[in-house]
């Protein structure tokens, strides 16, 4: 493989990691509550723009700004659950989809008021020029993205598989009524899951901010993309969701080279529609029973 293709692959994996982080957050909420949150992309935007604005006009150190960005995203997610989703109760899926879409629009409006219309950027996490790996020029920030994503995924996997909280989330996913009968505080599990999921979105925003222009309009498309990734991989399996995210990033990177950068979203959705026709449960998804 020559350097050019390696570089394209690397670029794809970098944006794929971001999709994976956002998609894992979406899938967590889906597993705990059977709701897909179309406003989820806004947590990415809030994380990125909070951190960037704390560094630039305010002058906080990068690390502190990054942490506060993640905290801001998590707190927004927590409030979002408490103020919007919880009062909605068990309204039909139809209404919940529309409700989260409406919230996405409201968040977008609020972000525009807070941070203006132009994209904000965080400085790169480490200075220095790009590294040469096998003839490909790799930005240090891309390595940050890949490294942090890998660590976060391991933490998420560990928490879900090994801790009491993770077991509670999985119990809620199976059957929330039974879980509550078994003494699990379903409401608090759901609240914490929203906080964690939004914080994951914030992490994605902070990581990608130095290399991608994030502005108030970025959220909705990110959410739809992440959902596409999750569906491609299979919504009900975390490994599938991560695979879907990485795959979507790589597909986009190569379609930019082979087709056109202006058509990369169109290409991704065309693949989604084709996949839904032949394998609606996703690549790694479980067959849904009737």
């Amino acid at each position: 493989m020559n350097g050019f293709w390696l570089q394209v692959l690397f670029g794809g994996l970098t944006s794929g990691s971001i999709y994976a982080l956002v998609a894992v957050g979406l899938a967590l909420i889906y597993r705990a509550t059977r709701v897909i949150n179309f406003a989820h992309g806004e947590f990415v935007v809030i994380g990125a723009l909070t951190a960037a604005s704390l560094v630039d006009p305010i002058g906080l150190p990068l690390a502190a700004a990054a942490v506060l960005g993640v905290v801001a995203a998590g707190a927004t997610g927590f409030l979002f659950e408490r103020l919007v989703l919880r009062p909605m109760g068990d309204k039909p899926v139809f209404v919940l989809i529309l409700c989260t879409l409406g919230c996405s629009i409201a968040f977008r409006g609020a972000e525009m008021l807070l941070w203006g219309k132009d994209p904000l950027r965080l400085p790169s996490f480490s200075s220095g020029t790009s590294w040469k790996i096998g003839g490909a020029a790799i930005l240090p920030q891309a390595l940050w993205v890949l490294g942090v994503t890998a660590v976060v995924m391991m933490i998420v996997g560990f928490v879900l598989q090994r801790t009491a909280y993770g077991k509670a989330v999985r119990a809620c996913a199976e059957n929330s009524t039974a879980a509550s009968l078994a003494g699990i505080d379903v409401k608090s599990v759901i609240a914490w899951t929203h906080l964690a999921s939004a914080a994951l979105g914030g992490v994605a925003g902070v990581l990608i901010s130095p290399i991608a222009a994030i502005d108030f309009q970025s959220g909705l498309l990110l959410a739809i993309k992440a959902l596409t990734a999750a569906i491609i991989g299979g919504l009900d399996r975390m490994s599938g969701v991560v695979l879907g995210g990485l795959l979507l990033g790589v597909i986009e990177a190569f379609s930019t080279v082979f087709i056109s950068s202006a058509m990369k979203d169109a290409f991704a959705f065309a693949i989604l529609i084709l996949l839904l026709m032949v394998r609606p449960q996703g690549l790694l998804g479980l067959r849904r029973t009737q």
Partner: protein, 623 residues
């Protein structure tokens, strides 16, 4: 009976009266608002665009409101309508009306293709697939610069010429828009109150129940989706002619979402409600210019607030006020009509009295087999719900399937109606092998079915529920629905009369125009059976018809079932009430843990050792 028919008719007229007053309100608003703004050209422009958006919204109301298909592709169809006409005019000099017609064809074809690909998905999957389609269309339009002019916009469209007159003024576009909108609402209303429209609402409310009544739900959804796309196409063409310069940004995903917001704000399932929603959303920023920066925030927050607190939107709120008055009048007329002679008279269906002696007893020797089940098995993830079950159902027989909970009775019904596919074994219906396929085809063969808990269409009146059952017996197609041909009117009238007679025979005719919520549980059962009878079924499957009924209702039910059998319908019922089963059935099939353990006349089953053991445990037969 005549008195009740009278009431039903007056009620329909009142309902129609209600609808015409809504029309009047809409017409007045449409006429007065621009008259007031006549000299303000900027506001006139806003009015024109409101009307054009409203045309899309009528189609959207059909798809999302009545059909409950949450698709976000209307922005794309709107764009295709605009761009096909625009590109044909700017690049090839095709006149705009011709271009608009071609755009309709293009949209219908594209909608059919996208519909086939995405409509079998539900909920989130449909939403994300159609959002994705919207993004594909805008990106494609932005990329094909040579044709569309890309993101900087398509220029060079010829002006709209109608009857040798160049249409340039905003007020002219407004006039054309209002005319198209009113035609669109009229067509939409005709469609919704037709055979097709009932199928649409039934598929949206409960697709499985609709399939069981012979409604081909996939086809209905696809046709509905194409109709919605045609509305968007017409509006898109008009919008392009009005704007003269169009860019893909006019039709992006946010536009699609905003249209849904207009629909819900105004009130779905009314056709005219969305006009209010479009007006409010377009006029608000004009009257409050200082709020421009807050526009997006307010729109989003408004959307969420409407969903949380006013699910019916503004129109829904108004209609509730209207209906409160209407309902009071209706209750009064029902009270007037009640007289002792018109109590439920199910016994009139056939000559069998309460004494229980069958007039035309079922005879084994003469009856042909209508349903033959052979070696049927079905397992769910390794657990056998039904294991090698065979039995025959002969014409005119009243047979019961009994067994403890989990014996596989409902699974059997699901297999017999095509809802589930068996793992092994065969089903023969009327001497032909069972066509494995969509449940509606089996319903068409003459198999009707009720559910353990009645599955009625809550978005329709009781009469309409019965008329959905009539679906397979009516012929009216989509064109009939749109133009209301005399033949269609006659068919609808006859169907409504038949349905009223049916309700009359079951003793619930006085409720024909009521909504489902006002029915008691027993009445819901009766209505579900009436809906099945409207199909004129040859076989009727009843899943626990007596569950939840009181003793009087049970007695009436057993009389009804015997009458149905004597009227020539073959009945198969799953039932737990042993007294009912033992007193009316010809034969009983006993299932336990998915296996057939006994079959025979009630007398035989009563003494069967295996049956007693299954019900009361081992050793019970010695007691």
């Amino acid at each position: 009976m005549n008195a009740r028919l009278e009431i039903a008719r007056t009620e329909r007229q009142t309902e129609f009266g209600g609808r015409s007053s809504a029309w009047l309100v809409a017409a007045i608003v449409l006429a007065i608002v621009p008259a007031m703004l006549l000299y303000d050209s900027y506001l006139m422009e806003t009015c024109a665009s409101i009307v054009i958006f409203s045309i899309v919204l009528v189609g959207l109301d059909l798809v999302i409101g009545y059909g409950e298909l949450l698709a976000f592709s209307h922005g794309a169809f709107f764009a295709i309508g605009a761009y096909v006409m625009g590109v044909l005019s700017a690049r090839y000099g095709v006149p705009l009306p011709m271009g608009a017609a071609l755009a309709i064809v293009a949209n219908a074809v594209i909608a059919a293709l996208i519909g086939v690909a995405t409509l079998r998905l539900q909920g989130y999957y449909l939403a994300v697939a159609t959002l994705g389609f919207g993004i594909i269309v805008t990106e494609t339009l932005g990329t094909l610069v040579d044709f569309t002019g890309g993101w900087s916009g398509l220029r060079g469209m010829a002006p709209l010429v109608l009857f040798q007159h160049r249409v340039t003024e905003d007020i002219e576009f407004y006039g054309i828009g209002v005319a198209v909108l009113l035609i669109g609402i009229a067509i939409g209303r005709n469609v919704i109150h037709s055979r097709f429209g009932r199928a649409v609402r039934a598929s949206g409310n409960d697709a499985l129940a609709a399939e069981m009544l012979g409604v081909p739900t996939s086809q209905v959804r696809l046709e509905l989706f194409v109709i919605g796309a045609i509305y968007a196409s017409v509006a898109g063409s008009l919008y392009a002619a009005f704007l003269r310069v169009i860019t893909p940004a006019n039709f992006d995903v946010v536009t699609s979402i905003n249209m849904v917001l207009m629909l819900f704000l105004g009130g779905k399932e009314t056709l005219w409600g969305p006009v209010l929603g479009a007006t409010i959303l377009r006029v608000l920023p004009e009257v409050a210019e200082g709020l421009n920066d807050y526009k997006t925030l307010i729109q989003g927050a408004l959307f969420v607030a409407v969903l949380m607190f006013f699910p019916g939107g503004i129109a829904g709120f108004l209609l509730v006020q209207f209906r409160k008055v209407g309902r009071r009048e209706m209750n009064a007329s029902i009270a007037r009509s009640r007289d002792p002679q018109t109590s439920p008279d199910v016994a009139d269906i056939s000559p069998r009295g309460a004494s229980g002696a069958p007039v035309a007893p079922y005879s084994k020797s003469t009856a042909g087999t209508v349903l033959r089940v052979d070696g049927l098995s079905k397992a769910f993830g390794g657990v056998a719900a039904l294991d090698d079950v065979s039995f025959d159902l002969r014409a005119g027989q009243l047979k019961a399937v009994i067994g403890p909970n989990g014996a596989g009775k409902t699974t059997l019904f699901n297999l017999l109606t095509g809802v589930l596919q068996p793992n092994a074994g065969s089903i023969e219906l009327f001497g032909r092998p069972f066509s494995i396929g969509r449940p509606h085809k089996i319903a068409r063969e003459g198999v009707a079915r009720t559910f353990q808990t009645p599955r009625l269409f809550a978005n329709m009146t009781i009469l309409e529920n019965v008329l959905v059952g009539r679906h397979t017996k009516l012929r009216a197609n989509l064109i009939d629905a749109i133009v209301r041909t005399p033949a269609d009117r006659k068919e609808e009238r006859t169907a409504a009369q038949n349905a009223e007679c049916l309700l009359e025979r079951l003793g619930i005719a006085h409720l024909a125009c009521a909504h489902i919520e006002s029915l008691s549980f027993g009445q819901r059962r009766l209505l579900e059976i009436a809906r099945c009878l409207a199909m004129e079924p040859r076989i009727l499957l009843l899943d626990e018809p007596a569950a939840g009924l009181n003793d009087t209702e049970k007695l009436e039910l057993s009389r009804l079932l015997l009458n149905l059998r004597n009227a020539g319908i073959t009945l198969l019922l799953v039932e737990h009430d042993m007294r009912l089963v033992m007193s009316i059935t010809d034969e009983i099939l006993v299932l336990d843990h998915g296996r057939k353990i006994a079959e025979g006349t009630p007398e035989l089953i009563r003494r069967d050792k295996a049956v007693l053991e299954a019900y009361l445990g081992a050793g019970a037969s010695h007691v």
